[in-house]
């Protein structure tokens, strides 16, 4: 699966969410997003669920988060 890296760690809310939503629109079925975030994006999850995406969130040792996002089917 091809991966698209999206680093939103230096952005002020709501820019991280805006940037993810932009990329989601163009995400191919064989692609996934690797999202680097300073906080866990709880508000993103319901949108992903509604739009038919799956995700996985792993905390990093530095206290940040890596979220993988892909289309359900």
């Amino acid at each position: 699966m091809r991966e698209r890296l999206l680093d939103v760690r230096e952005l002020e809310p709501p820019e991280p969410l805006e940037r993810v939503l932009e990329v989601l629109d163009t995400l191919a079925p064989d692609e996934r997003i690797r999202l680097l975030h300073r906080r866990e994006p709880h508000l993103l999850y319901p949108i992903l669920h509604q739009e038919g995406f799956s995700w996985r969130c792993d905390p990093t040792p530095e206290g940040e988060f890596v979220i993988l996002i892909w289309r359900k089917n």
């Binding site: 969410l17 866990e40 508000l43 669920h49 905390p59």
Partner: protein, 428 residues
Amino acid sequence: MIPAGLSFEQAPPISVPFRFFLTAPWFLLAAGLLLVFSGPEMMLSRHMPATLAATHLLTLGFTSMVMCGALMQMLPVVAGSPVPFPRAVAWGVHVPLTLGAAGVAAAFLADSGPLMHGAAGLAGAAFAVFIAAAAWGLARVTSHSPSAPAMGLATAALLATAALGLALGIARYGGFALPYGQLASLHPLWGLYGWTTLLVIGVAYQVVPMFQLTPNYPPLLTRWLAGTLFLLLVLRTAAEFLPLPDWLPGLGLAAGAAVFAVTTLKLQARRKRKIGDTTLLFWRIGMGLLLAACALWPAILLLPEEAGEKARLLLGVIALPGFILAVINGMLYKIVPFLAWFHLQSRYAGQVTIPNMKQFQPDKPARFQLGLYLAALALLAIAVFHPPLARAAGLLWAANALALGWNLVRAAHLYRRTAHVALEKKSD
């Protein structure tokens, strides 16, 4: 790892927090108008009926009103744990809190026992619903956010504040042999320091790094501070009834709050984005005022009785209309536009052009209100020592409340108009 498939209802409807945020400024206006009408007598002591009424308009009608709404919104976001039945809980908290806040203030002014008992009962009922809902959510926290434990302790402190407040209401008018003096000293301590300051600390762990792009608070601080402060509050409470020195936990509480204020100011100095905004200014002013309160609090113990009362009144001004109102006001300018944007984005993205954060809350009117706030606060602090200025200070507070209310109502109006356009397009 967080599994996929969390409920879409994680974030409560926007009407849940907005009803609290849009009600609060009118209580601030009422407090300002009370100062205009009652004038210099309010500056005589903290225990004047009009001073107590204005204080409760601020604590019940403004700060608790905003904090209940904010916590219902923040629990799902920071802790991954929604409040159950958000609409019903919002009704069950907002309506009795609004009536209770107005009623308690009216009861002080009218010196009416039955009114006080009814109004305190309503405020108590509102807090009971809120505490039950918050406890339910906090017990199901799924994230490791350091905010959640501090929010839990703040909620426990609210329980203590409400219980002490009810006991005071009964003791004042009921003729029961309750230790009024001790209760009257503990109630504001638990309310201002416990419920409010602990919640500010818990919320700051989340919103300062998130919105102001600072590094995170040091883990040593987030792990220990809130719990230690809560323990010191318990010790300070025990000192009212047991032969323990009350100055020792008091000093610890002042030192702990000062550590929080200095840490926050240091983190803000290291923020990644150097452009300042109104929220940042409000928070910096709030932290400066918190430091001033921390310095004045122990100093009061050394003052003679008469000078001590003026100093206590000044401490109250620095703590409540100062520190607490400044940080809440600053936070409203981030949370209201963010929620308006977020709810439109998650519902109507692609159907309508969604205004950005700055359109919901332009900087210019927010800065104008900040100026009014600073002028009102400065004049109120001077009026403590020169009471004839009290009415002028009240006018500035009323103007400040109108400016804040106007800014928030305008953001809510833009939200409603955008949602309306999206719905019209959908139906076409």
